[in-house]
Symmetry: C2
Subunit: 317 residues, 2 copies
């Protein structure tokens, strides 16, 4: 347990979000620009922020995402908020960390539909970027490794401290209402915290979706077994963070649950074999809403303009 | 001429951008949220900022825009920067002002593809918006008139003062290089300033595209005649502002000119019957780039979350 935690927090399954430390600020500022730059996509229209909108909890709030040419994505877009705390990235954990993850969507034909070579060519053509990469890396040249390092560094800053629940963990007894406290007690005592725990209230293990009772879905995603090849890992998904869960609707890997009420009911029945009363469900939902923290606050980045040599986006070919 | 102008500026066809005054700040802050909110579109994916990206000069930098379901737009998306100075809105001037304009794209099937009723229902369902509308308007209720007033008030703040050209107009002789000054002399003396003048360097008249020599394009847009019904108004377009023109590529209503070099060459030949040498063209382009001003700087807005009652976006129906 951390020295700055109150005695109270030290005994709880959830810890406050730690402030971000050791950020390479210039690298993160570059990454912020790249995160907002649709020129990393074939169409010139889709950026990371299109699907992980930082005005909307780091998600698109759609059941499944819209990709290049309006293709329907296969799975719900998880929040990038607090994603640096994940044990691995993606619902099935197939990327080890944020840097490895960031290369994926750029070249994914269903998302940004570009190639790493074209992304590098595009950024290299832009004097404002050339200059900034040189400043940040202390050498000439843009490559995909530098691009993904910068995006990952920016993503490390996307934490959401200071939720009312963290106030309570840090010793402010009045930070939660009686209903919210009752919801938290239920969350702990009925077993939710077995899977949703730690500072991110999730993100630190893979667990079977449908442990007690199978989950019905048309979505073909298989979970961890797609990565490990092991049959035992079928339908094991990374436990999502419940930080900011009020903002990250709809819920589950297939985005099938539109409301928290529905998600909590399903979790109770499928993971714990317990049917909550309407009152209990509402208490848990009230608790979950106390996990909304300070959203990252920053100036909208201004992107360096393309020049005559920059490859022209071709959204309609 | 304005009292704060230098003697120099008073004689020029271009005036510095005046600082914005009399902003209703709470109204504009609400409008900023709405400007960034994709829930004003049927899909939940497209906001004003998708096509008028304030990270990219208030445009999408595409030849023609991408609308709902990836529909190809009919015309190049003009910048919203300094659009409050336009004598009318749209290439053909069919909206009188920003407030009238803002209702258009929400209900345009090729853009946001929503209806005003659904937009109002969506915002009304969101407690954070209900509260903010009440605060701003001093009464309960959301309607399309309030929505477009707020967006228009935000757009009034989107001016770009402080360009190097304005520094020069305000008396700093060293703000421009010799090449840029030569370009400005050519711009004035060869006749560009007859149409591109005033503080926005355009935006204050309709003029024929292809005055001396006809403009060849596949784009079916007819210009002002579509509004007035007069044959004489065929191919009259609102003269675009040249403020921030370095950022608003590609050029012309059909987005056919990718570079400023090309646009200046075409303007010289078609509007003035003059073929510029490569050196003259480069001088004019250098001058035009001095018109890039301070881009609006503000925090990325955080949007109030939807709740259980909020209509669910249906991007794929
Ligand atoms: C077209 C939509 C789309 C775009 C564009 C997109 N993403 Fe994603 N992102 C998704 C979806 C969907 C997933 C989940 C995929 C999966 O788990 O199989 C995801 C997963 C992630 C994750 C893993 C989060 C977690 O908890 O597992 C991170 C981090 C992420 N994206 C960051 C980015 C970055 C950075 C970019 C830009 C370089 C980007 N995304 C572009 C839709 C998108
Ligand atoms: C055995 C492990 C386990 C237990 C116990 C568990 N969960 Fe989960 N939870 C998961 C997994 C795995 C997912 C992701 C499932 C998916 O998307 O298919 C999830 C998803 C969720 C989601 C949706 C989050 C999102 O962003 O999509 C919520 C909300 C949630 N759980 C709340 C709870 C609550 C409340 C309880 C107790 C009633 C609970 N969970 C018990 C493993 C568990
Ligand atoms: C799908 C792309 C798209 C979306 C979304 C969109 N616009 Fe536009 N906008 C355009 C295009 C294209 C034009 C030019 C249309 C014309 O002139 O006929 C335009 C014109 C304008 C103009 C007129 C500028 C001028 O100089 O004439 C303003 C102002 C404007 N839009 C603001 C907005 C606002 C506010 C929203 C959101 C409520 C919005 N736009 C949504 C593409 C879009
Ligand atoms: C007779 C009026 C007139 C004259 C003279 C004129 N322009 Fe234009 N200019 C226009 C009109 C109208 C447009 C829009 C045409 C269109 O999009 O179809 C335009 C468009 C432009 C554009 C593209 C702006 C954009 O955002 O798309 C540039 C750059 C430009 N003019 C520069 C110049 C220069 C440089 C000169 C002098 C060589 C010049 N203009 C002379 C009327 C004029
Ligand atoms: Ca890891
Ligand atoms: Ca979700
Ligand atoms: Ca343009
Ligand atoms: Mg429009």
């Amino acid at each position: 347990s951390l020295p700055w935690m109150s005695a109270q927090a030290a005994d709880e399954p959830i810890q406050p979000i730690e402030p971000v430390k050791e950020i390479n600020l210039a690298l993160s500022e570059l990454g912020k620009k790249l995160y907002f730059d649709p020129r990393l996509s074939r169409s010139g229209f889709i950026s990371c922020n299109s699907c992980h909108n930082l005005s909307m909890g780091g998600t698109d709030n759609l059941q499944t995402s819209i990709g290049d040419k309006w293709q329907q994505g296969p799975i719900n877009s998880p929040t990038v908020l607090n994603s640096s705390m994940n044990l691995a990235q993606f619902w099935d954990g197939r990327a080890a960390d944020l840097k490895e993850q960031a290369g994926g969507p750029i070249a994914n034909p269903g998302e940004m539909a570009f190639t790493h070579t074209l992304a590098v060519d595009t950024l290299s053509s832009i004097p404002g970027y050339r200059r900034e990469f040189r400043l940040v890396f202390g050498e000439d040249g843009v490559n995909i490794d530098k691009i993904t390092s910068a995006i990952a560094e920016f993503e490390k800053t996307l934490v959401t401290p200071n939720s009312r629940f963290d106030h309570w963990l840090l010793g402010d007894q009045d930070a939660l209402t009686a209903t919210e406290k009752a919801g938290y007690e239920l969350f702990k005592n009925s077993g939710c915290a077995a899977c949703h725990n730690g500072p991110a209230v999730g993100g630190n293990s893979f667990q079977k979706m449908g442990l007690v009772q199978p989950y019905q879905t048309d979505n073909p995603a298989e979970g961890l077994s797609a990565v490990t090849g092991k049959d035992a890992d079928r339908f094991m998904f990374k436990v999502p963070t419940l930080r900011n869960v009020e903002l990250t609707y709809p819920y589950f890997h297939d985005g099938a649950a539109q409301t928290l009420t529905e998600a909590v009911d399903i979790m109770g029945r499928l993971q714990l074999g317990r049917k909550y009363s309407a009152e209990e469900n509402a208490q848990i939902v009230a608790f979950l809403k106390t996990l909304t923290g300070d959203q990252p606050q920053f100036m909208l980045p201004i992107l360096p303009p393309s020049v005559d040599e920059t490859p022209v986006p071709r959204p309609f070919d």
